[in-house]
């Protein structure tokens, strides 16, 4: 099989994956920095390169509502958005998941207002983390492309919708080397469209989205919870199959030089890539450091994470969003919760960073490793919650 090497931005990479998936319907509304995804895709529609019905909606709320209708009618459906757009979709996110519709959103992680901002942080997707959507974070353009293809397949295996995200501008607008798979390989990988039901199947009429009160709502939610558990198996199966066919396997997380590591940083998205540079530098100096990159945040791999991290002495969790709980960010909470049952229970501290696009440099990450090293040596945490690069 011949892969094509091209230079593409994260947005272009996701649009390319969408073209190859060739969804039945894309309903969307443009928003910085995700505009390009649907702009490029609408070009594919205009040029007849896809068979998609493209619906330019009047808002993100309408866009995702149209997606819900199209998916319920039996279509393979995708869209793209960012930040305020995802926030405006919020209500419909829960409906799509509740109706078990395998819609895929190509999302660009941008800070939620206010204050208004267009740059990267993870507050938008983190605010959607309990909506019943799978969440896959991408380190670079290549992962954005690979993840979009896999997300479609995973979503249709368990009948839950999925968000694939990239960091605003840092990845969405950064051109990188990208290996593209042949169209037919992508199509055979995702396979025939699997739908949970079909509203247009008049031989088997169904009612959908009826008022669901005390006597049935809980059962339907219980099914959704079970689907999210099943998604754990699907993520692994699809990631493994992707590796067997195309050379790069994917799982819940990536362990970068974690062998024999005493201290580790946990990061999502592009910062994981920057952290790898620092790991290499510090390893060369003899420090036993590693990086634990979380790829799939929903479903959250509690047991697997516990197993992988419990032998580490000190862990620094990098959160590109603050949960406004007064005690740190969402990734921090879930990592700490994962390790509660561990007898070894590593020290775990939280670093809030990069809000509203504040850049993070290797020297910042090196500082985190040095602080973790001190915690490991002194058996003592000075500051549980820390903020990187904010002016005091």
């Amino acid at each position: 099989m011949k892969k094509i090497v091209v230079a593409k931005t994260g947005n272009e990479a996701m649009a390319e994956a969408m073209r190859q998936i060739n969804p039945d319907v894309v309903a969307a509304y443009p928003i910085t920095p995700a505009t390009e995804v649907v702009q490029i895709f609408s070009g594919f529609v205009a040029d007849g390169r896809v068979d998609t019905e493209f619906v330019p909606a009047e808002s993100e709320h309408s866009a995702l509502s149209a997606c819900v209708g199209a998916a319920a009618a039996g279509g393979r459906v995708m869209t793209s958005t960012a930040s305020q757009g995802l926030a405006l979709m919020h209500e419909v996110l829960f409906i799509a998941a509740g109706l078990r519709l395998p819609i895929v959103i190509c999302e660009v992680n941008r800070a939620l207002a206010g204050p208004i901002n267009i740059h990267c942080d993870h507050s938008d997707t983190m605010a959607s983390r309990d909506s019943g959507w799978l969440q896959i974070y991408s380190e670079n353009s290549q992962e954005a492309y690979d993840n979009t293809i896999q997300a479609m397949k995973i979503a249709e295996k368990v009948f839950l919708p999925a968000i694939v995200s990239v960091d605003a501008f840092i990845i969405s607008h950064s051109m990188e080397r990208l290996e593209i798979l042949p169209d037919d390989e992508v199509r055979s990988f995702i396979g025939e469209h699997r739908k949970p039901y079909d509203l247009l199947d008049i031989a088997h009429p169904i009612t959908l989205g009826g008022l669901d009160l005390q006597d049935y709502f809980f059962e339907h939610k219980r099914q959704e919870i079970e689907a999210m558990k099943e998604a754990k198996t699907a993520v692994i199966e699809v990631g493994k199959e992707f590796g067997e066919k195309f050379g790069t396997s994917y799982g819940f997380f990536e362990e970068y030089r974690m062998d024999g590591a005493d201290i580790a940083i946990i990061a999502l998205g592009s910062t994981a890539g920057t952290s790898k540079v620092v790991v290499d530098t510090l390893r060369a100096k003899g420090m036993k450091v590693g990086l634990f990159k979380i790829r799939v945040f929903r479903p959250f791999a509690f047991e697997e994470i516990k197993k992988s991290l419990e032998h580490i002495k000190a862990i620094g969790v990098l959160d590109r969003a603050d949960g406004m709980s007064s005690i740190g960010g969402p990734v921090f909470h879930e990592i700490r919760s994962s390790l509660y049952e561990s007898e070894k229970r590593p020290f775990i501290t939280n670093y809030i960073y990069g809000l509203g696009g504040r850049d993070i440099f290797p020297k910042d990450i090196e500082t985190v490793y040095r602080e973790l090293n001190e915690i490991a040596e002194k058996d003592e945490v000075k500051n549980l919650i820390n903020y990187i690069g904010v002016r005091e």
Binding site: I118, I170, I171, E176, P362
Partner: protein
């Protein structure tokens, strides 16, 4: 060559600083390099000072921080020199390549630049002669390759020509003018 080569482009909104960074990245990719090319993030405004960046390497590039200490700085508009310190963060032995009719020596004296290797190229004149418009980005690519030897120039010309032919199909004069501008800048760039 260093493990990762970092380049910063200075221009004005609308001058093609972003396009130049993307063209260079694309051309470098076709010679087998790993690349990153990205604009200064934010709303684009015609005429306002803007920056764009490239990273080139023989190995995969995982860093995703901004570029603060480039090895090469390219200035697409000479008037930017008065309002911006284009040497900010530029390595002591780094290259500063400026679109100006002045000589490197004149620039060094006028702006009191210490260290660095200065090169100048009258990209406005070249682009007016070859493309018929003040479009400094493609000629400056030619100057960059001559000064740094980063890529094989012939390969790059071929790659750029192919990409432009796709973008400007039906307007061969634009492709021809741009390629000619790169060749002339390659010949005419003045170095210390």
């Amino acid at each position: 060559m260093k493990e990762i080569f970092e380049i910063r482009w200075h221009g004005r909104g609308g001058q093609g600083a972003k396009t130049a960074a993307l063209l260079l990245g694309d051309a470098a990719l076709s010679t087998g390099k790993y690349i990153q090319a990205f604009p200064e993030y934010g709303p684009e405004r015609m005429g306002a000072p803007v920056q764009s960046f490239d990273r080139l390497s023989d190995k995969p590039i995982t860093i995703h921080s901004g570029i603060t200490n480039p090895d090469i700085v390219i200035v697409l508009d000479p008037t930017l020199m008065k309002s911006i310190d284009v040497t900010d963060g530029l390595a002591e032995d780094g290259h500063l390549i400026i679109n100006t009719h002045k000589s490197p020596d004149e620039i060094r004296k006028e702006f009191n630049i210490k260290g660095r290797k200065i090169a100048t190229c009258d990209a406005y004149k070249i682009s007016e002669d070859t493309i018929g418009k003040k479009i400094p980005n493609t000629p400056m690519l030619g100057a960059l390759i001559k000064v740094t030897g980063l890529l094989d120039f012939e390969k790059m010309l071929k790659d750029t020509e192919e990409k432009m032919q796709k973008k400007f199909s039906g307007r061969p004069e634009i492709v021809k003018g741009n390629i000619e501008s790169m060749k002339r800048a390659y010949e005419e760039v003045k170095q210390e």
